[in-house]
């Protein structure tokens, strides 16, 4: 089309608009545009005098979390620290129940939404069954699984909780399902991506030794992704604990319930007691998962 041009003089080359530069620039523009569209000047974050007093009171309470109730309580009520501990325990129980369901969902749907076991790349051979799998069955199952995952993930756990609350009332199973559904979808998406991106050399070697596509998938690919999958599951467990706590605002007996009650009574020091319990809980999980990771992954 055109004559080969001489390479441009490096000293006179204009600023290079590489794809990377244009992506960074458009992100910057999008961020600025969003701020302008929301009309949210940072100055509004400085509260007015009334709000300032409340904020001061609230944050001052952070330094003096309540070690006893701030108002008289009925006889027989357990000590506030015992109350916090019990609420923390229930939070963990909710999160654990939800994660156990989410993991099963995540593994099953993650497998179905992975193309590696049917795409032919790992199967080789060309029987009629294989062709049916690769051309029709595999893509159909894959697309259906993806769709289910998107529906599960696109509704936040709080919205699922509202739905189940409306349908079943204050039901423990409903709360567990509210967390398990979006978490199962997220785990499925991430698991399938991790497996698809895992190095394939061992998988090809097993294929070359006569293994079936399913064997190749399970023994060649999944082990390569397993450490990442485990680490991500721990992270999601931590998230599940936070979600379980927040579900307390709907009346489930987790830390969120205690926080909401204390907040309604303006007992800010009690709020901080429960908040610190939540922080301690998350830190403990992080320490535990970190120790396990060092033991198994390093």
């Amino acid at each position: 089309m055109s004559n080969p041009r001489p390479p441009p003089d490096p000293a006179r080359r204009p600023f290079p608009v590489t794809p990377r530069v244009s992506v960074a620039a458009s992100l910057l523009v999008a961020g600025l545009a969003a701020w302008l569209a929301l009309d949210a000047p940072l100055a509004r974050l400085v509260p007015e005098s009334g709000g300032l007093a409340v904020a001061r009171e609230f944050f001052a309470a952070a330094l003096r979390p309540a070690l006893d109730y701030e108002a008289p309580v009925p006889a027989g009520t357990p000590h506030i620290l015992a109350q916090a501990l019990a609420a923390a325990r229930r939070t963990v129980v909710f999160a654990t129940a939800a994660m156990s369901v989410a993991l099963v969902l995540g593994i099953a749907l993650g497998f179905l939404s992975t193309s590696a076991w049917w795409s032919g790349e790992l199967s080789g051979g060309a029987g009629p069954l294989r062709r049916l799998c690769a051309r029709t069955l595999g893509p159909t199952v894959w697309a259906a699984a993806r769709l289910v995952i998107v529906v599960m993930r696109s509704v936040h756990e709080l919205l699922w909780a509202v739905l189940f609350l409306a349908a079943f009332g204050l039901n423990t199973a409903g709360a567990v399902a509210a967390i398990a559904i979006p978490y199962g979808g997220t785990l499925a998406k991430i698991f399938s991506e991790m497996v698809e991106e895992a190095p394939r050399d061992a998988a090809w070697a097993l294929r070359g030794a006569g293994a079936t596509p399913l064997q190749v998938f399970v023994f060649g690919l999944v082990p390569r992704a397993a450490p990442d999958m485990a680490a991500y599951s721990f992270y999601r467990f931590e998230c599940a604990v936070r979600s379980a706590a927040v579900l307390g605002f709907f009346g489930f007996p987790t830390l969120g319930y205690a926080i909401a009650q204390a907040f309604e009574n303006l007992h800010y020091r009690e709020v901080w007691t429960y908040l610190y319990a939540l922080v301690a809980l998350v830190l403990a999980i992080e320490a535990w998962s970190g120790a396990l990771r060092r033991r198994f992954v390093a």
Partner: protein
């Protein structure tokens, strides 16, 4: 055989008898790996046929093809081991091609005493018996290579293919390994095909040399009859397609 329209191998006619040992020699890009992958049915030729044990591979269904693959042990250049499991598991996985799915799960997760003993004996034979229960990624490159060899042997193959086994270790170890492989193949009557670019090593360890250059067989003869001139021509840069630096835009 062509990739994206560019022939990688052409006009190639090679017969290997059972129990034979031969080295594929030639410069990088000559098509050695492609030829090995054709031989173990990992690749299908774009034209021409590959026969293993008298069976045309293009006529086999998936099940029969897997059975052929299961009888051919392949040690990849990059070893292709699962790094984050024990050596034992990598070795045991060599036999998956001969097992059903559940039998495979059982033998990898709960190997029987006989299976462990067999894997241990093979690891002992390749010189790393003590590594049975170590994590694979804790081993050195040379030791991992032996794990890959043990996996191929545990497969119970009739033929053993090795792709550039000396590229990842130092020359002394390379020689040890090639001699070990040749000895094991003789003991077990395995057909052995090794691609290698170290011509001295190939001459020392193999009775037959096949020279590949630019996807064609340059020579195929008993080692003693390959002349220095043929070897020099095999590796000369003249006449080979040169890679031009891409013009910068």
């Amino acid at each position: 055989m062509a990739f994206a329209g560019r022939p990688a191998l052409a006009a190639l006619d090679l017969v290997v008898e059972p129990g034979e040992a031969l080295a594929l020699v030639g410069p990088s890009g000559a098509g050695k790996t492609t030829l090995l992958r054709l031989l173990n049915a990992s690749l299908a030729p774009t034209s021409g046929t590959v026969c293993v044990d008298g069976q045309r591979l293009d006529e086999l269904g998936p099940r029969a093809l897997r059975a052929v693959r299961a009888r051919i042990g392949f040690v990849h250049q990059d070893l292709a081991l699962v790094p984050n499991v024990r050596v034992l598991v990598n070795v045991l996985s060599g036999r998956l091609g001969r097992q059903g799915f559940l039998a495979g799960v059982r033998s990898l997760c709960l190997p029987s005493r006989a299976e462990v003993a067999r894997a241990a004996a093979i690891l002992e034979r390749v010189g790393i018996g003590e590594k049975l229960y170590q994590r694979t990624d804790s081993l050195s490159g040379g030791q991992r290579q032996r794990v890959a060899l043990a996996r191929a042997l545990y497969q119970g193959p009739a033929a053993l293919l090795l792709d550039e086994p000396v590229s990842s270790v130092d020359p002394a170890r390379a020689r040890d390994l090639v001699e070990l492989v040749a000895a094991i193949s003789r003991e077990r009557g395995l057909t052995l095909i090794v691609s290698i670019h170290d011509i001295q090593l190939a001459r020392a360890c193999f009775p037959r040399l096949v020279g590949l250059r630019a996807g064609r067989i340059a020579f195929d003869a008993p080692t003693g009859r390959v002349t220095e001139r043929e070897l020099a021509a095999l590796y000369s840069l003249e006449g080979l397609e040169r890679v031009e630096p891409a013009p910068s835009a």
